[in-house]
Symmetry: C3
Subunit: 269 residues, 3 copies
């Protein structure tokens, strides 16, 4: 672990607090009160309220661009005050602090998880923990103490697993990949849960057909502008996930796709 340690590492924030309230400010206040030298970077505070899938996607497609040692705090937390566990996940390069509700679903796909802790050491929380704002009262102080060098294993009790959302599960077989629709973006593009890495490795150069509803798509374009106007295409977006789109149009207006629908990639010979 020593290789990961850096002095005053970056702490990132991914939340659904919005920008109109003082919640993000309060989180930063607590971090800076404990570690005045912390460097805090917002990934987003505008994750749609309670939308854990979107939060997991935003964090999961960004975290590995940060310097080694970065502490990623994520709070999209509809179950605050209830039974979900507060956790700390440690990988070779990063720490993740937040509720155990699936917000860290993509971490395991991309990184080897070394340790998982249930946060239960109250000396690292604020003295008064409210029942509705664990971002400020639990996760911010834990992230701040971690950034000052308190070691992860002092923060909680080792546990074996953490929650992975079904939305991110992909079935991989030798002759097919079965994924699903993760999100529809603002342009009507369909973002699937099938990652470039999984796709390339499984296909290994073989031909393929993408099935979505009754549509078949057989080409992957490098960019929207390479595709014939108004044709239905597939491409890997900057996030690394397979997207279905219509060049200069909205895919969902032509094909009535919804979040959760199956995407099947049939692999040729």
């Amino acid at each position: 672990m020593k290789s990961k340690k850096t002095k005053n590492p970056v702490i990132t924030l991914t939340t659904d607090f919005g920008y109109s309230y003082n919640y993000a400010g309060a989180v930063k206040a607590v971090v800076l009160s404990i570690n005045p030298h912390a460097r805090i970077v917002d990934i987003s505070h505008d994750i749609p309220p309670f939308d854990i899938v979107s939060g997991a996607f935003a964090l999961g497609t960004t975290y590995n661009y940060f310097p080694k040692g970065t502490i990623h705090m994520a709070v999209v937390d509809p179950g605050v005050g209830g039974f979900r566990k507060p956790i700390l996940v440690e990988t070779e390069d990063y720490y993740f602090v937040g509720p155990d509700n699936g917000i860290f679903s993509l971490v395991e796909q991309k990184s080897e998880v070394l340790h998982i802790y249930e946060l239960n050491q109250k000396q690292y929380f604020l003295e008064h923990v409210s029942s509705t704002f664990h971002g400020r009262d639990v996760f911010a102080p834990v992230a701040a103490h971690l950034s000052k060098g308190v070691s992860a294993d002092k923060m909680g009790m080792p546990v074996k697993t953490f929650e992975i959302l079904e939305a991110f599960e992909v079935e991989i077989h030798s002759d097919r990949i079965a994924g699903q629709v993760l999100m529809i973006d603002g342009f009507g593009n369909v973002i699937t849960n099938i990652d470039n890495g999984v796709f390339t490795k499984t296909l290994n150069g073989r031909s393929f057909t993408i099935h979505v509803k009754d549509e078949l798509i057989q080409n992957i374009y490098r960019t929207y502008s390479d595709a014939p106007l108004l044709s239905k295409i597939a491409l890997f977006g900057s996030s690394g996930f397979l997207e279905l789109a219509i060049s200069q149009g909205a895919f969902v207006n032509s094909v009535p796709v919804r979040v959760g629908d199956e995407i099947l990639i049939e692999i040729g010979h």
Copy 2:
């Protein structure tokens, strides 16, 4: 005062500038031009335009989570260019810089105010002061000079009081507390101006009845999820203020409450 001084303290910003314009960027530019080592933290730039009550609430429920020595700059300033004074308020732990229009109303409730200055020393302003953007031209340079160690009493002329908004005034008697509705939040919850500290100290364990319109509420819950479904409840939110809510519903849809309406807490024996 020496205990408060820290090297390059945090400067926080609470404004109604929004995120679509370059106003917040210009304020940060001026601060960094004067003190390149300043550490700037946004509380919010999305206070509803000209809504001093919301600005005072956002700042007033966040400022004391920041490290001692933090300089809080707040600019919700409908009277810019008119007669309102630019001020600097000094408490034991913090500085506050902004217009004297009530934006610092909650500071006096929570902290002992040591000094108030009317900012009139133009050598600490930008050379050209526009008539519409004192955030950039007056408050940012004052906050930056303060962060470099210029002492508060060099910045202006001592004055005796600063504006407190009526919206934050609470009448405290031995047998009742009379407050009012401060805001309605996005979920239809009613946020009152009655603070947990005032409530607990005044009641001192006695029973109570909360009157709002024709409704009576006699229990305070710790969290929404503790309350029976669709019952009208009171609780103290993460801000520390008394809130009226319906669990899984919108209080204002059941009881036609508006900002400014009286909230009376009758105290039993």
Copy 3:
């Protein structure tokens, strides 16, 4: 150039990425991975999508408030993946990094441009450059390397000009200034492309008449509150550009002005 160099200069960001996605976070991640000591300041991430004029305005009216040596990165980039060049513009006090599509239009009006480079040295890009996200893959790493002291001339190939948008072009004659409507703001005020500096220097104390559609305006007020209620007025906003307004009203509701319409200032004797 040595006078400009500062240790770990500020890097500013002006983009249309919005705050709901992780794009701005990814850009910051890349910058911090290359230069962990970089200080990043948002000018805005909420420039209207693909609106290069608004981006150029936000950056162009803010950049010169930043400390000397600041690196300004701007990404409003509808042509990403196409033929527009990635460029680096160097002035006496600042660097500008972004697409060559007019986003730096106002830089030449206010600063002397010393060098322009087309970015073509791939060792300063991310290893894998996506076709849709040059903010993360090209401009962020270039800005970060620049902030670490790599000299601008190592980043690319000198070129002679960069794109200036027609929207910012102003014709200056001894007896008139011909500009145009740049933007309509949220209050219905008309923001023109005629700068205070150009105006003052050209008029040199002479009288003037502003023509817009069939309206004539002959006074410039210092502030909105100085003007008679509901009168049509002109004033220089905090950005330094000439604005047409109705005090307490919306100019565009009285005079049907649109973006691009001519504004003619006829100069008297």
